[in-house]
């Protein structure tokens, strides 16, 4: 009886030993496999750079893109970076002097950048700052005099800044305001006929600024507008769902200009989107372009100076992305690059 028990015991122990050895072997091979995959991914994605963050503000001055503030999933940020489009490298610049925030706006007036409004995790904000790239310094400018807000739109043209729409914590807005840097003052601008919204986009072609997309109370807006900077008047263009095959409506997208065409890219409509649409202002029509090659995203940043455009730094769900990709609208799609 005792002998039999021992036999059983020994068999069990042999089994256990075998299992332990197998486990060890698996561990060894697994750890090797993982290592290879992680490395490959990291280098691929990381045409790296800047920092993984979302809801960053951005503007472009000449051949340099600037991006700062944002939310990295744990913290609201104040760090501020420049991206040299020709040299393809980043530099960390002077920290943003206001409260750390995301969903702020960025725009350029006469070779100075501006960042303001946004959300610090508790409140919507109304403070604005200008950045001078020649001295790498920030200056506090006049606080926005109306309701603090986040997820607004802003653009600079003809020596003025324009800021409007957004979410004030309770309601979406449809008011537009004008900032005059020569007097450091804000004035309300009347005449925008569109609906209230948040997380819309703009792009500028020549003397016109185009504005559209965004969301309000769960409804994605399909109206599209052109702002004539000479007369400061708005004209409604064809809706973003005018043709049956258009799928342009969305929020949290990016808008940019390249070779005098306008683009709406990425964003969210139910889920995050990779699609890019091209706007031809001469015909008021849209054409679908090759999808953004990387993971779909919302709240990305875009640097564009009409000659080059780079998209990056958005988020998909809770995964924060940190790569940047140049967009060539006229090149054939190549999945090797």
């Amino acid at each position: 009886m005792k002998y039999i028990y021992n036999m059983k015991g020994r068999v069990n122990h042999i089994k256990m030993l075998t299992m332990a050895s197998v486990t060890l072997c698996l561990m060894a091979s697994c750890s090797n496999d993982d290592e290879d995959e992680d490395l490959g991914n990291w280098i691929d994605q990381s045409v790296f750079d800047g920092s993984p963050r979302s809801g960053s503000a951005y503007f472009t001055i000449g051949n340099i893109g600037y991006s700062g503030v944002g939310y990295d999933g744990d913290d609201y940020l104040t760090s501020f970076w420049s991206y040299d489009m020709d040299g393809d490298y980043w530099s960390q610049k002077a920290d943003f002097p206001g409260t750390a925030r995301n969903a702020a706006v960025g725009f350029t007036i006469n070779d100075k950048g501006y960042i303001g409004s946004g959300y610090d995790g508790l409140d919507e904000l109304a403070d604005f700052y200008s950045y001078d790239p020649t001295t790498n310094t920030w200056t506090t400018i006049a606080t926005f005099p109306s309701t603090p807000r986040r997820s607004a739109v802003a653009f600079g043209i003809n020596g003025y800044g324009y800021f409007g729409t957004g979410f004030d914590g309770d309601n979406d807005r449809k008011d537009f305001w004008k900032y005059d840097p020569s007097t450091d003052s804000w004035h309300e601008l009347v005449g925008f006929g569109g609906d209230k919204r948040r997380a819309a986009i703009t792009f500028t072609i020549g003397d016109y600024v185009y504005m559209g997309t965004g969301v309000s109370n769960g409804i994605y807006l399909d109206d599209f507008w052109a702002f004539d900077s000479a007369t400061e008047s708005w004209t409604q263009k064809l809706d973003l769902d005018e043709e049956d095959d258009y799928s342009i409506v969305r929020s949290n997208a990016v808008g940019f200009t390249l070779n005098d065409y306008g683009y709406i890219a990425t964003g969210t409509y139910g889920g995050t989107l990779q699609s890019i649409w091209e706007y031809d202002p001469s015909t008021d029509t849209w054409e679908s372009k090759t999808d953004f090659e990387r993971t779909s995203r919302q709240d990305a940043v875009v640097f564009s100076n009409n000659a080059k455009a780079f998209i990056g730094l958005g988020r998909t769900g809770s995964l924060y992305l940190d790569d940047l990709e140049q967009f060539f609208p006229y090149d054939e799609y190549d999945d090797e690059d």
Partner: protein, 114 residues
């Protein structure tokens, strides 16, 4: 029974040893497979650094990060310590953002005031 106990202790030790060895091994692989390098260069009356990935420049820092104005690092050692910090963050797959407290820790004298 005693022999079996010894066998288990041996397996436990071997597992622990192999685990450590593989962790260590993978760490050094990571290091050697991501060819990040720093270069220090003179700017004005001081120094800047750049971080290269193979032939590509990832970060070029002509001036001390975070600070307003265009102030280069006062010594090559300051620039080098900062560049190495950025590389170590990248190798850990962290964001390359430098913070005031990190630059204080690196004993960059310009941050003594903070």
């Amino acid at each position: 029974m005693k022999r079996i106990l010894v066998a288990y202790v041996f397996i436990a030790v071997a597992t622990g040893f192999l685990f450590l060895r593989f962790t260590d091994y993978s760490f050094s692989t990571t290091k050697s497979k991501i060819p990040l390098q720093s270069e220090i260069f003179p700017v004005g009356d001081g120094y800047g650094y750049q971080i290269d990935l193979e032939d590509r420049v990832l970060i070029k820092q002509e001036y001390i990060p975070i600070l307003e104005g265009k102030r280069p690092f006062s010594t090559t050692e300051d620039a080098e310590r900062t560049a190495n910090k950025v590389i170590s963050k990248l190798l850990k797959k962290e964001s390359p953002i430098l913070t005031i407290s990190e630059l204080k820790e690196l004993q960059i004298p310009e941050f003594n005031l903070y």
